[in-house]
Symmetry: C2
Subunit: 189 residues, 2 copies
């Protein structure tokens, strides 16, 4: 056999190229040839690591999902209120990393509207997010319907992410909106 190669690493490289393509030109710009070109490899290699285009896209989806989760895990543990704020801001395209990931998330989010197979993992991730947010809210402001507030916050930052992506809302304004929203949730329970 040829030199034993790190299978997962190769898949990750190709998955990265897929994400870059989605971020720059949207989901329908993803073709085996474009991905190969973006990754700087041959089309044969792409096919070697992914049996179908669909499997490749699913892998890319799990890749960015895990990246977002990793960024959350890397946040410094501060008091609950600061952590809550940090997580919400992390979902917005403010840092370079988030700015690269947000368009990809947006594309998959829209695709999930017409593709049930994407909806399932997305709902699960959102559900965990809501539970976590609710926990933080309760820690800061006991009493009140924390879960409802968590769902509202998540919908809010999701929409805000899109508004920032299409240039409707500036990053600075987005931060201000998040802070204002948070103060409302945490003070007038």
């Amino acid at each position: 056999m040829p030199k034993q190669v790190d299978h997962d690493e190769r898949r990750r490289q190709i998955g990265d190229a897929v994400c870059r393509l989605i971020a720059a030109r949207g989901l329908d710009a993803v073709s085996l040839r474009h991905v190969a070109a973006e990754a700087g490899v041959s089309m044969g290699r792409v096919q070697h690591y992914f049996a179908t285009k669909d499997e490749m896209l699913m892998f890319a989806f799990e890749l960015i999902s895990s990246r977002v989760a990793a960024r959350f895990g890397a946040l410094p543990v501060e008091d609950p209120a600061e952590l809550l704020r940090a997580v919400l801001l992390e979902l917005l395209p403010l840092s370079p990393a988030a700015r690269a990931e947000a368009p990809v998330l947006a594309a998959f989010l829209a695709q999930a509207v017409v593709e049930p197979r994407l909806g399932e993992p997305l709902r699960q991730g959102n559900g965990e997010m809501v539970a976590w947010l609710a926990g933080m809210i309760t820690a800061v402001r006991p009493g009140g319907d924390a879960e409802r507030d968590a769902m509202a916050l998540l919908a809010f930052v999701d929409g805000l992410m899109l508004q920032v992506l299409i240039g409707q809302v500036s990053p600075e304004m987005a931060v201000e909106l998040v802070d204002h929203q948070l103060s409302r949730v945490l003070t007038c329970g």
Copy 2:
């Protein structure tokens, strides 16, 4: 010439088929052949009324935009608070009409992230929406930063629309979230 035909009506019929396709299978399911089949006409006719696929998609975008605007205009004029609530709920996929339009709006919204030509009209529409919402907020609750609240509300309902579309949030829960959010904005300015 053949029987004089209502040009605009024919374009509308085809545009309708485009929207139905987008709602059911996403933007990338839109091809000249699929549109022709969905509209029950020949591909030649589609080409006769739209020089390019892009022009057809742009027309479909303006079509649903005008429909949404029409539904807003058709709302009964009540007191500002009720009207504000009605408009926000109208953006969610609750009524049959809104449920048909929301997936199309979501698809165009996501496309606008990577297609600047869509972003421009979208930003303008959102801008007008924010101004209108701010006016209503001021009417109900003078003082406070109405425009900021309007932007937050719009981001919130945009995100909520997506959550409902992917089945994360039930329509009933969405109404509850909107009401709760509105009460916060209007009472704890």
